[in-house]
């Protein structure tokens, strides 16, 4: 039987941000940007995830 939470996932890394929009002042030196960040987390679960029934 499967026991949820029996194995802890390990985070491997983050994917890069998806997009950004920017606006600049007329001197081109200052600006403001909005970044829509949607990351993908990748996890590995060691073992089969199945705990043998005793």
């Amino acid at each position: 039987m499967l026991k949820p939470g029996a194995l802890a996932p390990i985070r491997l890394g983050l994917a890069p941000p998806t997009s950004a929009t920017s606006r600049f002042a007329r001197n081109g030196l200052r600006g403001v940007a909005r970044e829509n960040i949607q990351r993908s987390d990748v996890y590995v679960i060691r073992g089969s995830g199945i705990v043998p029934e005793r």
Binding site: R23, F24, A25, R26, G28, R30, V32
Partner: protein, 225 residues
Amino acid sequence: MERSTPTSLEFRQTLVGRSTSGIIGSISGDGERLLIMRNRPIDPDTRDLVIRAFAGGAGTSLGSVTGLVDWDLHQGGARLLAIRREGDAQQLLDIDTRSGQSSVLAVTTADARWHETVRGGGYVFLHGNASLSVRGVAARSATTFDRVGRLVQLMFLNPSPDGQSVAVAGWIPSIDSIVIARLDLRTGSSTELFALRAEGAGAPTWLSSGALLVPILESQYSEAW
């Protein structure tokens, strides 16, 4: 974000805010003030507006606006023009950024989705997908342009420092490209300035030097590491 020269890609960045329901910032033309708008999580159509100095500080609340379509800081950030939906039409609001008091300047058609103030007076509006109109500008009497050259979808616009032209960012499907074009308000003719095979464009900024600064959204991709 701030950099030492207009061509540098190294910015000193300061995080202004973070939100899961939407946040956006605008900068005044002179670069001195920032307008920060947050969508309310329980009512995303209502945004809370705060204006502050670029250099930092707590800022001043301008209250909330429901149905905000577009906005434009002008006069060094002293005033904010905003389009908001109101019933079947749209209102053009003038907001004093020091007192927060607002008044309705005009009622526009319901399809206006972007506007910019023109230096010297007047406005330029985007309507629908490809239409652009000018009102109250010195270079041309009130006019609606159904199309700008070959551009099928207009994304953003920015008037020139002399108030006689408008830069538009749009899309031409026949060449599958983002195109930046200049519309001469005096003659009504347009000139394609450059085309890129990209996913989208941000708002162009017509710098005081006469150069155009255009954020380009590259096609998204995935990387495996």
